[in-house]
Amino acid sequence: MSRSMPMPKAFLQGFRASFVHAPWVLFKWLINVAISALCLLPIYQLLRRDLEHGVVQVREEGGLSFAYFVDFLFAYSRELSILDLAWMTLLGLFALGNLVTTAGFLSALERGRQAPFGDVLAAGVFRAIPLGLLAAIIGSVLFYGYPFIASAFPWIDWPYADGPWQYGFGLGLALLGICLASLIYDYARIFLFRTWTFEQDIPGPVRPLWWLVKPLLALTHAFVFIATHPLKAPALWSIFALLSAALVMASQRLLDTGIGWGIVQVLILARIATSTSALGAQRALTLPVADAAPEAAPTKEPTGAKPAESATTGDPLTE
C-alpha cells in the first residue's frame, strides 16, 4: 500500500485548490445567493404588504417577534402553501447547481489549472449525473437504513432512554453514523473523479453506462481507502468538519448582532471555501493533485510538479 501525503501538505494543497479553482467557489456562492433571494422574494413581498403601512412590533430584543410571525403565517397560509411548491422546485435547482459546481471543481482538480474552463464545465455538467447518483445511494442508505437498523436494535432509537448514559450513547451513535456516512461520501466523491487507466479502453458508446457503475466502484474504493488509512482519513475529514462548524456557529452568532450583508457574504463565502478546501485536501491525501502530479491527469501537461512529491502521493490502487 502506498504512503499517502503528509497531512500538513494535504491541508495546504486543499486551501490552494480553493484559490486556484476559485471560479467554482464563486459559482457555489452565486447559486446560494440566487436561490435564497428567489426563495425569499415572495416572502419579502408579503412582508411588505403587511408592514409597509401596518404597525406591529416585528423585531424585539433577542430576535424577531414570534407573535408577529404567528399572525403572518396564518394570515398568508394560503400563499405560503402555494409557495411550498415553488420552493421545492428552487431547492431542486439548488441541488442540481451544486452538483454541477462540485463536479466541475473535482474535474478541475483532476485536470489541472491549465485545462480550458469550457472543457471542465462540460465535464462537470456530464459528471453531475454520477455524482447525483452517488449522493442518492448514500442518502437512501441513510434514509431507509436507519429505520431498518432501529427496528433491529430498538435501543438505538432510545424510545425509553432515560439517563445520561443511554442518552449519550444513543446520541453519540447517531452522530457517529452521520459522520461516518459523510466521511465515506466525501472519499467516494474523490474516487468518482479519478480516472483509472482501463477507463481509456472503454469504447465510447458504453462510456455513459460505465459512469453509472462507477459510483459503486468509488464507494468500494472509499471503504478500502478509509480502512487502510483509519487515522489519517477521518482526522483530515474531522478537522475540516470542525472548522466549518466553527465558522457556521461564529457567523450565526454574528448574524444576531445585525452585521451588514457584505460581511455575512464574506462569511458564507469562507464557509463554502472551507468545504471545497476539504475536498481538495482529501483529494491530495488520496490522489496526486493534477497541478502537482501530472500522471493522474493524462490529458494535461504537468504544471509545477515536484518529482519528490509525486512519489509520496501515489494512488493506492494504481501503484
Binding site: Y44, F66, V70, L83, D84, M88, L131, G163, V248, W261
Partner: protein
Amino acid sequence: MLLRHREPTETGRPGTTRPEPGRRMFPKSVVPLLLLLALIPTGCSEWFTSTPPADQASDTTQPESTTPAPMVPPVAESGDLSESSADPVVQYDIQVQLDPDAKSLHGHQTLIYTNHSPDIIEELQFHLYMNAFKDQHSIYARETRQIFGVGLPSYGSIALDDVAVNGRQALSRITYPHQNQEGTGDETVATLPLDQPLFPGEQVSVFFDFTVKLPENTGRSGYIDDFFFIAQWFPKIGVWEPAGHRGRQESGWNCHPHHALSEFYADFGRYRITMTLPSEYVVGATGIKAAEQLSEDGTQKTLTYIQDRVHDFAWTAWPGFEVVERVFSLDEADYREAEERFGLSHEQAQLPPTRMILLIRPEHRDQTDRHFQALREGIKWFGWKLGPYPYESMTMVDPPREATGLEMMEYPTLVSLSTHWWQPEGYRDLEDLILHEFAHQYFQSMIATNEFEDPWLDEGFVTYTCLRALDVAYGRQHYYRVIKQAPVPLTRLMGFAAFPPVEQARYSFLPGKRVDPIHLPAWGFNSGDSYYGNVYEGAALTLFQLERELGEPVMDEVLRTYFERWSFKHPGIDAFRAIVNEVSGRDMNWFFDALIFSHGFIDYAVMPVRSLEPSEIEISTESDDEIREETEPEFDSFEAHLIEVRNLGTQAYPVTIEVRFTDGEVVRRDWDGTGSWHRFRLQHPHAVESVSVDPENKLILDFHRANNTWRAKPDQVTPRAVSLTLSTRLQHLLQILSGAF
C-alpha cells in the same frame, strides 16, 4: 405544551396517549429542507375536518339522557350539596387488596350516601368506569375507534361480586342502562333500584364486594410492569342533581357512561381507603396516610389514607419510587413578591402550610428542586389570586417512562406528571405540566364542574390560569420541539425572541379550521383535535380575551369570587357568567354568545384612508349612506378623510377605531363590529397619520394584528430588514446543505 394538551389523548394506544408537547405547533407539511421556513403551516392540516358518519354520531349520543342546557338560566344558585351539613353527600370506606401478579384489585366498599336534595330518590346510579375496557362494545371503546381509529389495546373490568343495601342483598337488582336489548354493550353505569325510597335528609348504606382487573397502560388507570396507577377503580355513585341545579329542568342522576374524551363528575365527601399490597411497594395516594402496618411475615403492608371534602380517590404503587417530602411555607422573599407583584399585604398574603410530596424516579433526582419550585409557584399564584389551597397535602407522581397511558392526570391532592432526564433550564415543559395539574386542584377538584358536559370549564380555566402563573413565575420562553426526546429550542435557533406563554396558545389554536364552539359536551366535538383545540387553548384564549375586555383587576376579582362561591360545589357556565356580570357591573352576555357559544374567527383590518379634495366632497356625501360621521367644518380649507375598517373574520367583536392626524389630534370612534365593513368621514385640515382598530391591542383573538393599523407614511425599512435577516439565515442553511451535493 406545548404543551397544554395535557391529559392523555385517550387513543387507547400505549405510547401515543401523550400528545407530543407542542404537537400542534410547527406542522409537518412544510418544505422539509427549509428549516428556516419551517414555521410555515398549512393551516388546517393539523385539524381533522372529517365528519363522522351519521350512524356513528348517533351511536355516541344515544346513551345520553341528561344533556346540558347551557342557555337556561339557573332556577336556583344552589349547587351546594355537601358543605352545609355535618354529613357529606358521600362517605366511602374501602378495603382493597392489590395483587401485583394478577394485576387485579379486590375490594370491599361501604358507601354511606346522604340525600341532601329536596327530592325522593328511588334508585341509585353508579359509575363502573373500569368496564370501559371490558370489551370493544363499550362506549369508550367505540368512541376511541371512531375518533382515533383504533380499538382498546388492553382489557380491564370491574365485576360486582356482592351488593347489599342497608344490609340486604341487592346484587340481582343491578341493571346496566346503557346496555342494549341483547344484554351486551356498555356496562360503565349501573342502576340500583332501592326497595325503600330515600327521603330528603335520609341516608342509605351500600356495600360492594368487587374485583377489578386492571388494563395495561391505557385510559389513565392501570399498570405497566410493576407500576400501578389506580384511578376510577371503585363503584362510584353519580351526582343527584335537583331541578334547577346547573340549569336542569328535572331532578335526576347525572351519571354518564365513560366516554373516550370526557373526564369525570362526582360529589364531595369523605374517603377512607385501606390498601394491602406487598411491602416493597412505595405508595402515593389522595389525602393523608393515617396508618401503616406490616404483616407478621413482613411481606405485605396495609396503609390507610383519609381525606375529607374531595370527590375522588386515586393512588399509585411502584417499588421504584423515591419519596421526597417538603413543607410549603412562605419566606420573606415570598412576602415581598406578594406585595410587589400581587399588591398583597403581609396579612393578606398568608398561606397555610402544605405537605408537598414527590414520588420521583431515581434517575430524575436532580429535578427534585424543579418539581418543588414549580409546585411552590402554583401554591402561591393560586393561593394569592383565588384562595389558599385548603388540603393538607399535595402529591406529585413521576411515573415510569413507559407509562404513557397513565401519566399527566389530575386527581384530588394527587397528580401524575411526566418528565425526562434531559430538561434544559429554559425548557418549561415540566413546570407547565406541574402548574397545569395543580391548577386542576382548583378547577374541577374544588370548583367541581361537570367534566362530561362542560369540559372547557375545567381545562380552559386551567390552561388560562396556568399560562398566567407560568408567565409570572418563569417569564418569556422559547418554543422547544421535542425531537427524539431531545427538546430543541427551535424558535431560538431560528432567530426569534422569547415570547410570553400566551403566544404559544395563540399559535396552537388560531390556525385551526373551527367547526365547533367552545361550549359543548365532551362527546359533542367533531374530532379529537377539535375537542383539544377548543377545550384547552381555545377556551384559555377566550378567557384571556375576557381579561383584556374587563381589565386584569376585574378579571382577578371574578376568579376570586368564583372560587369563593363555588368551591366544593358544582357550578355550570351560568354561575360563572353571572359572576362576570355582577363583578364587572356590565352585561357581558354578548361576550359569551359571541365567543363561547358560537365559533369562527376574528380579523379586523383598516383600509387605506382616502383623503378627498374639497371639490370631491359634494359628490361623496350625497349618495353615501355609510358615511356616518362628519365633524363640523371649522376651517375654510378643510379636507375630508374617508376611514374604512373591515371585518374579515366571521365573528363580531366591538372595537374602537382611532384616527391620528399629523397635527397630533386624535379622534376615536366605537363600532359594534357587526357587518363586514364600517366607514365614516372625518373633516380635518391636516392629513391622517394613522388609523388603528383596537388601538389598545386588546383583541388577542384577532387573527392578523398587522392589518389593525394603517399608517400614511410607508415604512420600507422594516420589511427589508426582516427579509434580510431571514435571507442570511436561509443562505447559511443552504450553504450547509450544499455540502451534501
